[in-house]
Amino acid sequence: MQHIVIVGILVIVMAVLTYFGLDSIGLMPVEASAQAVSIDWLWNWQVIAMSFLFALIVVPLVYSLVVFRRKKGETGDGEHIEGNTSLEIAWTVLPLFAVLAFAYMGAYSLGETNRVDPDAIEIRVKAQQFAWTFEYPEYGIVSTELHLPLNQQVVLKMESADVIHSFWVPEFRVKQDVVPGRVTEYRITPTLVGDYKVRCAELCGTSHAYMEAGVIVDTKGDYAAWIAEQAAIAAASQTPEGQGQILSVKYGCLGCHSIDGSKLTGPTWFGLYGSNVELDNGTSVVADDAFIKESILDPNASVVAGFPSPSVMPPYTLTDEEIANFIAYLKTLK
């Protein structure tokens, strides 16, 4: 009996220490969405349960090892106890209730994260290897950054051009896969102004690690200003160069091609037009209109030296006018 009392006290002490220890180091990132609240609430209960159960098993285990250790020279056996049916029933039935309680809380928390606001703003998300593109259909805006207004639910309608991706902003908690051939929805209500990042969470190929994009939560005023500015740019960019630039954002080209000379998954566009390009078959070619067109329509036809062969870039079917606009844009990158 004395052993049980000591172990009981130690279990409680250990559980409390474990819980406060874990709690004090701050396990989760900043809470930046309304959906995160119910998730973090449930997580906290899970940490309490984990701390208690950890103590409940480890304390008597370590206690037994210390107290019931065979002394030097001892050879005998322990007490002959085969089992105890009421104990077994107790530790089957009590956890059953705990499990059901957690399942119920889980369902409740899921319901909270799925709560629909009929006035949610709709934004379209396109995912592809290895870039995110965001479209605000009402304003004709296409952007590589996602801007969101504070305290306003948005619903992201997400589509994939190639393989499965997954939309995850750790500060928002919620994650949703983007599956080819269908539109998946992601509802979020940002509650904290700040710069975050969406990071693709489903392995999507060679440059999966770099499939990230900025997510900026603005106050409603800043958000409106950004929308107005972008809408103006979209309206003004009727020149071929402007149209070309919009294409490069829309098709996610910038996920693999830099415009500042740095090396990403694909060759940089900086100073590309008109330059001499060495191919991986040892020949070289001038990057003229024909070469650019071929590289878009059939990326595998000529692979630049130093890049994966066969090319990881999928073919893009652009119209001749779009290609002309794109080349006009490319010429500006020097």
């Binding site: 396990l27 990132p29 998730i39 449930l42 899970q46 349960a49 984990m50 950890f54 098993i57 480890v58 285990l61 037994s64 090892l65 019931f68 065979r70 005998g76 056996d77 322990g78 007490e79 002959h80 106890i81 085969e82 089992g83 105890n84 104990l87 077994e88 530790w91 089957t92 956890p95 499990v99 059901l100 957690f102 809380m105 889980g106 369902a107 928390s109 899921l110 909270e112 994260t113 799925n114 190639d162 393989v163 499965i164 997954s166 919620v174 896969d177 599956v179 080819p180 269908r182 998946t184 693709c200 969470a201 489903e202 392995l203 190929g205 060679t206 440059s207 999966h208 690690a209 066969p310």
Partner: protein, 743 residues
């Protein structure tokens, strides 16, 4: 002159061999590139392999191992040269990193090793036949392609369809060529074969040949598993090294090996680490089960000895296929191989699919054998609730492996056909559905995790009473909890898909079923603690690993429910939290108990015991490192570290943690090296242990070690409960005639 110890001689030879080969490597690179490179990969590979052969020569002279390693060096060089020439002819230019050359070096090196060790044996014959079969199949398809006017060659010498048929034929050739199916052919022709083969090879050579003895097969499985664990661990060290700091320093975009650049290699290593470890777990547990279950039952062998040998031997070509996938382009999908990514992945994925498909056969047939053996071959008096508890675990495991493994084979086969034949199973443009694959895949791959852990939990339950000197608390409850876990495990697969876009409402029932698994698992933990309570505990190495296993598995178990509750999983899914969680479950459920079982039954197999001091060093080095490793993984996972990424945003401030994790990874590797040295050294030099080393009640310990070829000379009858420690005068088994009075 004073006698120098073999170890010193070994290291001296190693140093000479290493330096000479390193210089040769530098010379070769100079000849090829025209410039001096002092730290080229070629020099390192040359030096390592030559150094290993030189060590063996210095330490043991021209022993079989020395010969094997020397032949391996030679074989790899010949293979490399041959591959280079073929590649030169086909591609028209000399390419020193041509995958063809690497592939030939690997296959020839492997084969030459086994040829050198013991001439023609089942392994070397099998490998020679596998290489021939692969080339034959590939050439056959290539000829058809030439006739049809299609391209026949590619960067990997042959085209994808050619390699797939080749890989498949290679497996069939291996099995027909090494003799593992020859008895069945004889039966088909009406020729009788002896009921129980007497060993045609004595000593260690029997392990390289076909044997129908379950103990030999058990050891063959175990050693293969240790080899694969080392390979899988090596892959982990490679990518852990890259992760030690943000940005790319080691696997850079400029490097090129096996037709892949750094990030692509990272993906291949990471994906193969997963599957190779899974296969090694399946083989490792098959090894323990094979060795131990017939002994525990009092049977002479497994129910189907030939099927048993076949199930082992098919895993060898399967492992070769998995390694081939690394060289034939690799793949970037993770071990899960989700389409559409796996449909677009490089060609290595096909070898991966074939390898898993083939390894699955081993698992299914082995499980069938275990079930029949337990049903039919128990000793007199061994009723269901008097079976040793490990047998219950083996049965529960086998039920899953027998009925679920088909699903992973099927799902991978469908992707294979989608790639080869354009069947649009998972292609939305052709009416297919990518999410369907995930259902099929997880219908095996979730229950599979119970295949990995249930035998390990069985080992814990089996060993705990021996070292606590107390009956297993609640034997029936533990036995039933294994079955309960196995059966509930079939109904939880979709918890891997909470974010996949499957029907939203289905997530809730899967949350309930998943959380239910916690109950039988909890029963095990409570019963284990109650077993220890008021025992007379002693803790030699096997017990240390049992206790370590309990605590590590507890951490894995406790971090499970948050993943099961849907809303939290929306945050945790595909992060390092999951990586930490499942490494806890797998180490607690497999690695620790596997080591415990090896330390515990080693004297039964060899008549010697492993060194206690080295065993304790192994434990005390591995356990704390492992705790830090998984705690660190879970910590950064919660904060935003994704799974399966080659690089991470420096702004996340994970660099220090990742460096720590890498160091811990290396410490675990060192501890396993200590184990492997201890394992192989103790076979010859271990302290003699022919009696009941652990003072166990179990039948296999009532007869001398090593176990006689036909197991028990006299049958035994079960006359009591298996774990009645502390009950004076009680016995579990009684032999029909006392073993000693035979002479």
């Amino acid at each position: 002159m004073k006698k120098i110890s073999p170890v010193v001689r070994g290291w001296l030879s190693f140093a000479i061999g290493f330096i000479v080969a390193y210089i040769l490597g530098i010379g070769l690179v100079y000849l090829v590139n025209g410039s001096l490179a002092y730290s080229h990969l070629v020099s390192w590979i040359f030096a390592t392999f030559a150094g290993a052969a030189a060590y063996s020569w210095g330490a043991s002279g021209f022993s079989p191992l020395t010969k094997g390693l020397a032949w391996m060096n030679l074989g790899a060089l010949v293979g490399f040269a041959l591959g280079l020439v073929i590649d030169l002819i086909v591609q028209g230019s000399l390419n020193w990193v041509a995958p063809t050359a690497s592939l030939f070096a690997l296959l020839f090196g492997f084969t030459a090793f086994f040829l050198g060790v013991a001439g023609f044996n089942a392994v070397s014959k099998g490998l020679i036949w596998q290489i021939s079969g692969t080339l034959l199949g590939a050439i056959f398809i290539s000829i058809i392609r030439v006739v049809m006017g299609l391209e026949w060659s590619g960067p990997f010498l042959f085209t994808e369809p050619a390699w797939v048929l080749g890989g498949f034929l290679g497996v069939i050739f291996f099995l027909s060529g090494n003799g593992s199916v020859s008895d069945w052919f004889k039966w088909a022709k009406g020729i009788d074969t002896p009921e129980h083969h007497e060993e045609s090879h004595a000593g260690w050579e029997k392990y390289l040949n076909i044997s129908l003895d379950h103990k030999v097969i058990g050891i063959q499985y175990t050693v293969t598993a240790l080899f694969l664990i080392s390979v899988g661990g090596l892959f982990a060290l490679v990518f852990r090294t890259e992760l030690a700091a943000s940005q790319l320093q080691f696997l850079t975009t400029d490097m090129k090996l096996f037709g892949q650049n750094g990030p692509q290699l990272y993906n291949t290593f990471m994906s193969l680490h997963g599957m190779i470890m899974i296969v090694s777990i399946l083989l490792g547990m098959a090894g323990i089960t094979n060795f131990v279950v017939p002994l525990l039952l009092g049977a002479q062998d497994m129910a189907f000895p030939r099927l048993n040998a076949f199930a082992f031997w098919i895993s060898v070509p399967a492992s070769v296929l998995l390694l081939m996938s690394l060289i034939l382009g690799g793949f970037d999908t993770g071990w899960t191989g989700y389409p559409p990514l796996s449909v677009r992945a490089p060609m290595g994925i096909q070898m991966f699919f074939l390898g898993v498909f083939t390894a699955g056969w081993s698992s299914i047939l082995g499980a069938l054998n275990v079930i029949v053996t337990v049903m039919r071959m128990r000793s007199k008096g061994m009723t269901a609730f008097r079976m040793p508890i490990f047998v219950w675990a083996a049965i529960a495991t086998s039920i899953i492996a027998l009925t679920a493994t088909q699903f992973i084979g099927l799902s991978f086969q469908l992707v294979m056909f989608q790639r080869l034949l354009g069947m649009g199973f998972f292609d939305p443009a052709k009416g297919g559905n990518p999410v369907l694959f995930q259902h099929l895949f997880w219908f095996y791959s979730h229950p599979a995790v119970y295949v990995f852990i249930l035998p390990g939990l069985g080992v814990i339950s089996e060993l705990l009473p021996v070292f606590a000197r107390k009956p297993l608390f609640g034997y029936r409850w533990i036995a039933m909890s294994s079955l309960a876990i196995a059966l509930v495990g079939f109904l939880v697969w979709a918890h891997h898909m909470f974010t996949s876009g499957m029907n939203e409402y289905l997530r809730v029932p899967f949350m309930y079923s998943t959380l239910l698994v916690a109950i039988p698992t909890g029963v095990k933990f409570f019963s284990w603690v109650a077993t220890l309570w008021k025992g007379k505990i002693w803790a030699p190495t096997p017990m240390l690993f049992v206790l370590g296993g309990i605590v590590v598995f507890l951490l894995g178990g406790l971090t499970g429910p948050p993943n099961a509750t849907v809303s939290i999983d929306l945050h945790l899914h595909d992060t390092y939290f999951i990586v930490g969680h499942f490494h806890d479950t797998i180490f607690g459920g497999f690695v620790f108990p596997f080591f415990a079982a090896l330390y515990y039954w080693f004297p039964k197999a060899t008549g010697r015991r492993m060194n206690e001091t080295l065993g304790k060093i192994h434990f005390w080095l591995m356990t704390p490192s492992f705790f830090i490793l998984t705690f660190g993984m879970m910590r950064i996972g919660l904060l935003g570290m994704r799974r399966r990424i080659v690089d991470y945003d420096p702004a996340l401030n994970f660099d220090a943690t990742h460096l720590l994790l890498t160091v811990m990874g290396y410490l675990i590797a060192i501890s396993v090296l200590v184990f492997i040295y201890n394992f192989f050294n103790s076979i010859k030099n271990g302290e003699k242990a022919e009696g009941n080393v652990w003072n166990s009640r179990s039948p296999e310990w009532q007869v001398p070690s090593p176990m006689p070829t036909h197991n028990y000379d006299q049958p035994f009858e079960v006359v009591g409960e298996p774990y009645d420690y502390g009950l004076p005068g009680s016995k579990y088994v009684e032999f029909s005639a006392p073993a000693k009075s035979r002479h």
